[in-house]
């Protein structure tokens, strides 16, 4: 789907603070690993994700490279780009690629270009969606309904950052580093734990139940639908301001300090929650750092950790059938315990 400039503006979204923050932080630090938005129907999950494209800065890319390789990063270039030093550089809007559920494996991974092969007898690789999404975002709506064999492919590529195609006599390897953004309604099917773990942050999205917010949402939606151009124009300044703040945060990111006592705190939280593997811990460190940069601070505070812990960890907990509480509630509970213990010590 095209991500037109006429998309509903990000700043015009009413409420949904957690979701907006998560998206902003992922735009700030792409290595955070993306957002998973789970929740009710009609809460504007898709709207928020689609609005993301307008917030991203332009990328420097090698001109005419189908994988838009980064000219500055030799380690993540395709064979052609790595083979030469003199690149013509061009700017490109960061790709936000939609993955429709009906996608076939050949379009996801890329395959032999049938037309060229049949007509000219040339064996040429036709890049798929993973190539398109390199260095950008891959958005899957209804991610919980994605076919198993496609999930396998995604997990494989997401883990390595490379897409290796060995089929129909082709042997192609190209960089495919992308941020996964997913949304879905958990009532329509569960997500595989391996895929869950791939998302940096998760957010539970709920329909606002407060009448004032609900009225405001409908009013804005109505205004947008009646005259999208005027509506986008009205919010343009605010959107640009936000986009600038994100750029500033991105510049600040590398100078943000994470003190040892913060690392210690994060480790304690993860141990108390029993999250599997180190990914949770690493993500929480990155998320807290991005949050500090977003606030314009140069060192991570305890409050950054507190804010980001539920989003970075709640989807990594082992499900406990005897504990009815939602996992974000469990994270909050453990956080309280950890802090109480610290205060006592």
């Amino acid at each position: 789907m095209t991500h037109r400039a006429g998309n509903y503006p990000f700043v015009a979204i009413v409420g949904q603070d957690a979701l907006k923050l998560a998206i902003i932080l992922c735009a700030t630090d792409q290595s955070l690993g993306g957002v998973l938005a789970l929740g009710d129907r009609g809460t504007g999950k898709t709207t928020a994700v689609r609005a993301l494209a307008a917030l991203l800065p332009e990328l420097d890319t090698v001109k005419s490279c189908p994988y838009h390789c980064d000219p500055a990063n030799k380690d993540a270039q395709c064979e052609v780009c790595a083979g030469s030093d003199a690149h013509e550089i061009t700017g490109l809007a960061a790709p936000v690629v939609d993955l429709p559920l009906g996608v076939t494996e050949d379009r996801l991974l890329g395959a032999l270009d049938l037309e060229r092969a049949l007509v000219d007898g040339v064996k040429e690789f036709e890049p798929g969606l993973l190539a398109k999404a390199n260095r950008g975002f891959l958005y899957i709506d209804e991610v919980n309904l994605l076919e198993d064999h496609l999930v396998d492919v995604l997990l494989d590529v997401a883990a390595s950052g490379w897409n290796v195609v060995e089929r129909e006599g082709l042997s192609v390897k190209h960089p495919a580093k992308f941020v996964l953004v997913g949304s879905g309604n958990p009532e329509e099917g569960e997500l595989r734990p391996q895929l869950l773990d791939r998302f940096g942050l998760s957010v539970d999205v709920e329909t606002p139940s407060n009448i004032k917010d609900r009225v405001e949402i409908i009013k804005r939606r109505d205004a947008y639908e009646r005259d999208p151009k005027a509506f986008v124009k009205k919010w343009k300044q605010a959107n640009t301001k936000l986009s600038n703040r994100i750029s500033k945060a991105r510049d600040l990111l590398h100078s943000v300090q994470v003190d040892d006592h913060i690392l210690q705190l994060i480790a304690e939280i993860c141990i108390a929650l029993g999250t599997d593997g180190l990914r949770g811990e690493l993500t929480l460190i990155k998320a807290a750092r991005a949050h500090a940069a977003w606030r314009g601070e140069v060192s991570v505070q305890v409050s950054d950790v507190k804010t980001m812990a539920p989003h970075a960890l709640s989807h990594r907990l082992r499900r406990n059938p005897l504990d009815d509480a939602r996992s974000s509630v469990r994270v909050d509970r453990v956080l309280d315990e950890v802090f109480a213990k610290r205060d006592a010590a």
Partner: protein, 602 residues
């Protein structure tokens, strides 16, 4: 809560047929008007109706209303994803020597109405493609080497049978909901001359007062409609209705129309019976404190809302009487369709399952040729092969047998465990609690196995499917929380409904097994009448049907003193029998696991 539901179902509402029919026709006008206007997305209609003359007449009216400019594109229930969203046109591609895309039904529907019957049979990916096209007025094709976007702005018309589930994600996106089930064909006028006029003046430019938006949002909240799409659609309906009648501002009448067509049919509660809703809330309290809080918030906000110009009371007072009677019915329907109707369709046995990548091999009866993969395999060799053949033969691609690729399907190892729980009498609460626990345990333990669970409660005069087959722990928990026990034991009806459900699951390609928690003492017969003797005879009869079906069954005897009745039923079912006077969630879930192991071996 449950007993009133059953009564509500029995007494058919005495609404004026003519009014319902008029509303159904109004729905057509509104829909056609939205198709002509710039509204995004155009309005959709959800029709609850059985197949029959009333539906036929309504569809004829719809086609008349669309006139010569638009068509009604039908989505057959057996449609495949390639036909729905489009893909490669193989014959044209081969003839032309270059890739030619074939448009699917969704892009053919652009500018037209799209008719979907039996939405419950749509596969998850097709449903999702349909919904995505509705949301974005565009189809994205990323299939078989085709990467294209087609415009797809259409009015969806979804007809669903009252007995079938309506997929909630689809229902949420359809603005207008009409119910033709109780319309009498003899009482509606001939439809041949039905046309739509005045569509040209619809511009959707009528300015909307802030109060109008506020009252529509408040109305939606008062009727317990949580999603934000319905109030938005209601606003659209009201404005369209106003513009169809002339350049006047939106008036109360228009809001009433929106209320009748877009909001009331989806109501889950009624503002006047807040007291009735209370017992439910109390049960939920322990479960979900958070939800409770938001509910309270909502209630408080409602109070403030009543001070607005267009008060909810005034609007309710002006509603026709019959409408409110139907609300109880809608309540039932909504409670059930809250379950997501995402279901598979029946497939031929040898080709069942999810397609996975193709492999080289000869096509046989069980292995279908994958033409595209075959072509791909042959493509690199065309030049070499063509040098060795005559000019005539070189026309078109040359395929050798070792190019053949066949489709592979992953056989789903999916199973459905259907719990049939005796929820009668005084011991029900305990038993029910354990059964709920077992359902959740099975679900949470079985993720890797992809198991589904369903639950039927036997209580009162008939058994009821309280949890349609689902894999979602979230949904199961939510549904089971509200379940209470009491009343008689309609064991025969429980088994009958379980059999029907099991057959439905088999059609979807899953392997069902039954877990019956009962003490075996039936006291309600198949007709819903009390009486131990007949009830027991009926129960044994149904048990024999179960035995004949060859399903894996386990009867868990939960009576305090192990009795002979449950054993008799188990013998009649040819089932496993487990005495479990102190059944608990863990032991039940173990019994289920044993059953599945033995079922798989058999």
């Amino acid at each position: 809560m449950e007993p009133t539901n059953i009564e509500g179902r029995d007494s058919s509402p005495q609404i004026e047929t003519a009014n319902v029919w008029q509303d159904a026709l109004l729905a057509i006008r509104l829909m056609a008007a939205s198709l002509h206007s710039k509204i995004e997305p155009p309005l959709g209609v959800c029709v609850k109706s059985t197949a029959g003359p009333v539906l036929e007449r309504w569809l004829t009216c719809l086609e008349n209303a669309l006139g010569s400019e638009a068509d009604m594109i039908r989505v057959p229930s057996h449609v495949g994803i390639d036909r729905l969203i489009g893909g490669i046109d193989l014959s044209a591609t081969l003839a032309a020597g270059k890739r030619i895309a074939e448009s699917g039904l969704l892009s053919m529907a652009h500018g037209n109405a799209l008719l979907v019957t039996q939405p419950q049979t749509l596969e998850a990916d097709m449903l999702s493609s349909l919904i995505s096209a509705m949301d974005h007025q565009e189809v994205m094709v990323e299939r078989d080497g085709i990467s294209e976007q087609f415009p797809s702005r259409f009015c969806p018309v979804v007809v669903h049978d009252p007995d079938e589930e309506m997929p909630a994600a689809l229902s949420d996106r359809l603005a207008i909901h009409i119910d033709l089930t109780h319309v009498d064909i003899r009482q509606i006028e001939q439809s041949a001359d039905f046309t739509c006029n005045g569509l040209e003046q619809v511009r959707q430019t009528t300015p909307t007062k802030a109060e109008t938006i506020t009252s529509i949002v408040e109305l939606a909240a008062a009727f317990g409609i949580h999603s934000l799409r319905p109030p938005q659609q209601a606003l659209c309906v009201a404005r369209l209705n106003a513009e169809m009648h002339g350049p006047d501002d939106l008036v109360e009448e228009d809001i009433l129309v929106a209320l009748r067509l877009a909001l009331l049919p989806r109501a889950t509660q009624f503002p006047a019976d807040d007291e009735d809703a209370l017992p439910d809330e109390q049960e939920k309290q322990s479960q979900d404190a958070l939800d409770e809080e938001t509910d309270n918030q909502e209630a408080q906000e409602n109070d403030i809302g009543e001070l607005e110009d267009l008060s909810i009371e005034a609007i309710l007072a002006s509603l026709p009487e019959g409408l409110l009677d139907t609300l109880n019915q809608h309540k039932n329907a909504n409670a059930r369709s809250a379950a997501v109707g995402r279901t598979g369709k029946s497939k031929a046995n040898f080709k069942r399952g999810r397609p996975i990548s193709s492999v080289r091999g000869r096509p046989t009866a069980n292995k279908r040729l994958d033409i595209l993969a075959t072509l791909r395999a042959s493509a690199p060799w065309q030049k070499i092969r063509k040098t060795n053949v005559s000019r005539e033969q070189a026309d078109g691609p040359l395929i050798r047998s070792n190019d053949f690729h066949v489709r592979r399907f992953k056989k789903p190892a999916e199973s459905t465990t259907i719990f049939i729980v005796d929820a009668s009498g005084s011991t029900a609460i305990n038993r029910l609690g354990e059964a709920k626990g077992a359902v959740e345990l099975v679900l949470s333990e079985s993720y890797a196995r992809r198991d589904y669970v369903a639950m039927i409660a036997m209580k009162g005069r008939e058994a009821e499917i309280i949890l349609p087959s689902t894999r979602s722990l979230v949904l199961a928990k939510r549904t089971l929380t509200g379940l209470t026990g009491g009343g008689g034991t309609p064991l025969a009806d429980g088994l009958r409904k379980a059999l029907a459900l099991a057959h439905e699951e088999q059609r979807k390609g899953r392997t069902p097994s039954l877990v019956v928690l009962t003490d075996g003492s039936a006291n309600i017969d198949l007709d819903g009448n009390p009486g131990r003797e007949q009830a027991q005879i009926d129960a044994l009869k149904m048990a024999q049907h179960v035995a004949f079906s060859g399903l894996a069954v386990v009867i868990i005897d939960v009576s305090k003193l192990v009795g002979r009745q449950a054993k008799e039923i188990a013998a009649a079912c040819h089932s496993h029998y487990v005495a479990m006077p102190f059944a608990n969630a863990t032991s039940i879930s173990e019994a289920v696991n044993d059953l599945q192991v033995s079922g798989a071996g058999a």
